[in-house]
Amino acid sequence: MPGEIAGLAIIDYVIIMTYMVGVLIIGTYYGKYVKSAGDLFIAGKSLPFWAIGMSIVVTDIGAIDFVSGAGAAYKYGLAQANFDWIGSMPAMVFAAFIFVPYYWRAGVFTIPEFLGKRYNTAVQMIAATIWGIFLVTMLGVMLWTTAVMMNTVLGWNHQTTIWLTAGIVGIYTVSGGLAAVVMTDVIQLVVMYVGASALLALSFWTAGGWHGIQERVLALGGEFQNHFTLYLPHDTPTPYPWTGIVFGLGIVLATAYFCGNQAVVQRVLGARSEWDAKGGMLFGGLLKLFIPVLVMIPGIAALALYPGLKEADTALPLLIKNVLPPGLTGLMFAAFFAALMSSVDSYLNSASTLWTQDIYGRILAWMNREPSMKHTLVTGRIVTAAMILIAGLFAPIIDRFETIYVAIQTMLSMFQGPTFAILLLGILWKRATRWGALAGLILGVGSALTLNNAKGLFPSDSPFLFVAWWSFVFSLIVTVVVSLLTPAELPEKIRGLVYSQVLRDDELQQVLKERVGG
């Protein structure tokens, strides 16, 4: 087959098919528990901490992250690991202890719904529309980029990969909702970790262990002397200067992602208790520690074994072809599909929740219509099916836009800063008002668009980390200034939604003490 890098044996196909059938059976099994929109979208608040933590990790890691993550590590070295280390951990602690309890106590389905309660409907609708469009676009991007990878590596037809994945994920997500998504995510994480561990162990063995890899890479010349350093200088020509990593990634993008990304937060909203919601986030942080080891280190091992590749993204497929025996190759490809499906199912469930609850629900409210429980459930399922169908049909169009994947990442960096700024102020500062949030959101996105076009302002050619930081700062300032110039929100409107207010509310503190028995 043209372009094929790795081939599969019969045993490999058997393993991949067993995995797919198994996931389909387990996913659809949860359909019998879905009786309401609450069951479909937040699993009837029944999820334990360990399932939430595992689901958060696989939602974050897609099949493309395996290939491009290893490719970036091949090219830039250990600095790529920042995206899973400083790009998750302090943020997940803040998410667990500050943000999650407030979403959970507010009893909401989505982040825009929380913003609607804290501010007003306009803020809710703008945030829901931005996230709704982004999530559906991302579904198409995930399906297409993985189809391209499977075509390059295995010679599979694009449409086969797209509709095989969309079909299986669509069936169990429509049927079982968030519970099916999270429980299949648990299996998918195990498959991913086992497959990637096998590749890590065998690539270490082939390259002579960690010291063998270091010796080989450092012997390649001056260009590779920073390959075992997490932080690169501020004026590095790579997209990862340490300043961008700390401010843009560590403070803004990571915190925005784990505190404000609907696909991540939806799992914790389905927790069986507030403790499970917080614990799930922290457990996810522990599991994320291993992602760079499983994904980036094989990329550096590939550099040691096969230096001089023109396309860095071929490093991982080449490693799989050369170091994994039949059977383990199938397991590794099952891990690829696990990574893809676990991200697609999560984005699908979240996209349908946003469109059903925040957009369709608000339209019904404007028309003074109160939908029944059955109506919302049926609508949610129809929207879910429509979303995956649209994403599957939309996926091949992405091929016409060579830089769409980069464009999507840039788009994410443009609205994550401003949405996080109003979320942060909404929870931490009782004086933040609806007008402040609206101005901060709109002008913040505008500032990100402007900075993204300000060529030569930042040292890096891909300044998305700096754009995220400065648009966040700008949005914070605008929200504070406009809030101070407009009337404060009524205390009864924001009761229980603001951190400082809850800590000083004696009545609420007494209830907490009595519940814990302290």
């Binding site: 250990l78 280390w85 400083i86 951990m89 302090p90 602690v93 803040f94 667990a96 202890f97 309890p101 075992f228 350093t229 997490l230 932080y231 200088p233 501020h234 004026d235 340490w242 300043t243 700390v246 560590g250 208790s273 507030e274 403790w275 499970d276 919601a277 917080k278 614990g279 922290l282 457990f283 942080g285 522990l286 520690l289 668009l449 402007t450 900075l451 993204n452 076009n453 300000a454 060529k455 030569g456 302002l457 930042f458 040292p459 503190q509 907490l512 003490k513 519940r515 814990v516 028995g517 302290g518």
Partner: protein
């Protein structure tokens, strides 16, 4: 539209460059060991902050108050490897 944004972006570059250039020069002069130390401090400070949270807030929703359910300890256990990694690499 794209051309308008590009033109506006160029004007913004001209306007902000005098403020950003000295900042860039200063940031580029910071030793890498300080940068690594800052990251380790970031993780350590987060762990210390987590320890200051009230017991009833941390245990809220837990079925019992056994020691292993204390999420402040979880935060410390999870953050320590990150401190070590950022100090070492």
């Amino acid at each position: 539209m794209a051309a308008w944004f590009q033109g506006f972006g160029n004007a913004v570059t001209t306007l902000l460059k005098p403020a950003f250039s000295p900042l860039d020069t200063w940031l580029a002069s910071i030793p890498m060991s300080w940068a690594r130390g800052t990251a380790a401090l970031f993780f350590a400070a987060t762990a210390i902050w987590a320890c200051t949270l009230k017991r009833e807030y941390v245990f809220q929703g837990a079925p019992d108050t056994k020691r292993w359910r204390d999420l402040r300890l979880w935060a410390i256990v999870v953050l320590i490897p990150y401190v070590i990694i950022y100090l070492h690499f």
